[in-house]
């Protein structure tokens, strides 16, 4: 395991690279894309767990923090979708160079899945895209964030803000919300990568997204792994969610493909 900073020296990104733990030549390089806000904290252990399983299965893994999140440079108020997409591009290049692999698999959870999808659109070096409980409708997501902010503000006896939302302790400024609202994965053209939609509960939007991707000639598969998927919940003492069922499902998608390619 190698924790390090990479990217621009003025605003470096924090990442942790995990080399494969098998003797056989590893051929998979997997980039993990975290969700945003409090969901990032709640998912950290699940990503660590997934990482452990992936490296045992023979994959290179890089997990990293976007600008203004986690240990990466920047204030939480300055994060933007455009910047985070650039960060994923930077992380892909870093992983390819470190792992000495020409192509990568992207795994994203919740809004991280949405970002991974958008980042992969124009890239020819993403061989597989795993969208784990993705946010499909940005407008609806912002509505949910706004409702949480309003409920928290009322609970604290404060007037809800229309500019800077605080959501479970994380800032969601106006500009970021405007960008998120513009996202509708149902209109996303899709990626050349094989796309795996992995969900923890029955959802119409991801089924619809899969059908649309196929209609556009994309290779897409939808799989349900019934698991705890309440990523948006928060706890006054901090909590982690490690849903084994879907973690194994994500792992299976990636390692099965590795076997198929070997």
């Amino acid at each position: 395991m190698n924790p390090f900073f990479f990217g621009s020296s003025k605003s470096p990104l924090y990442g942790v690279y995990h080399p494969p733990r098998t003797q056989e030549a590893a051929t998979r390089a997997v980039l993990l894309c975290y969700p945003m806000g409090a969901e990032y904290m709640r998912a950290h252990r699940a990503f660590r767990q997934l990482t452990t399983l992936l490296v045992k299965g023979g994959a290179h893994v890089l997990r990293f923090d976007y600008f203004g999140t986690g240990d990466s440079a920047g204030d939480g108020r300055d994060g933007t979708v455009a910047r985070w997409l650039e960060d994923i591009d930077t992380a892909i290049e870093e992983l390819k160079e470190t792992a000495q692999q020409p192509r990568v698999t992207l795994v994203g959870l919740r809004f991280g899945a949405t970002l991974a999808a958008l980042a992969s659109t124009e890239r020819g070096d993403v061989e597989q895209l795993v969208l784990w409980d993705p946010i499909v409708d940005g407008m609806q997501y912002v509505q949910e964030l706004t409702e949480v902010h309003e409920a928290e503000a009322r609970h604290r006896g404060l007037t809800p803000s229309r500019e800077l939302l605080g959501v479970h302790g994380f800032p969601v400024p106006t500009a970021l919300r405007a960008e998120i609202e513009q996202i509708d994965l149902l209109t996303w053209p899709g990626a050349t990568a094989r796309t795996e939609l992995v969900v923890s509960s029955e959802r119409e939007d991801t089924v619809d997204l899969t059908a649309r991707l196929r209609a556009r000639g994309r290779e897409a598969r939808h799989q349900l792994f019934p698991s705890n998927g309440n990523w948006a919940e928060s706890d006054a003492f901090g909590s982690a969610l490690i849903p084994q069922g879907i973690i194994q499902g994500v792992l299976g998608c990636i390692l099965a493909e590795q076997v198929a390619n070997s």
Binding site: R45, T69, F237
Partner: protein, 289 residues
Amino acid sequence: MREKAVKFGANRGLVGIVAEPAAPVAGKPAVVLLNSGILHHVGASRLYVQVARRLAAAGHVTLRFDFSGIGDSEPRRDTLGAAESAVVETREAMDLLQARKGGTDRFVLFGLCSGADMGFKAAGVDERVVGLVQLDPFAYRTRGYYVHHYGPKLVNVDAWRNYVSVRVQRWRATREAARRAPGTVEDEPLEYVAPEYRRVFPPREETQAKLQALVSRRVQLLNVFSSGMPDHYNHAEQYRASFPGLDFGSLLQVEFIRGAEHTFTFLQDQERLLDMVEQWATRVFPPAT
């Protein structure tokens, strides 16, 4: 301010981020931030990152790191319990900073909840600790606690009407919090097991004796309380009153951010907390002349 990822500890299994001031300032102790429960070194609401960067900008070298088995750090290979290993690893963190070029032998430990508990334990056994910042530390009820708790309600008819149901709800919440504090893992992992730490306040006399030892060593103390422990703490003066036989002199500063959640969720509360910590550090650790 410049940040660097580090691996350290007996098996180099501990992972942390050192933040260094743009220009070193003589006389400033280094600051080590200690995990709160299972939250990794970024801290609840990214609080530890903000504190580390704010203090680094004020001239302190800071290190936020993960205890073994938490966040980015590897699990330990021995059988040491979480409370004991945390003290060992906190001292290893101080060793790391001390051994660096221009390293100091004076440290401030910073922690929320269980992080405060670990800082308190480590401060008691390591004389390099010259300052301790505890967010929601061990607290003990006093007469003042009950006055603040019941006083406003005695003259309120609605409060009496709701008394029974509120008590029941609070009992349930407290029971639930005690079971889960200081953090929960939903769906127990197969491969990566979290270290267990159950927060139990030691007897008041034991805490007082340890505080007395810190005061004798002239350790600077900053305690910041939220409203997140309503069954234990509810007003600023309560802490000093909890230890009537102890003369803190000017070594103790206690703050109470009324209404704040245990993890300082609200952005306004975070700003207040950051300001308090920076101002305290600036006051008690001025640059060496």
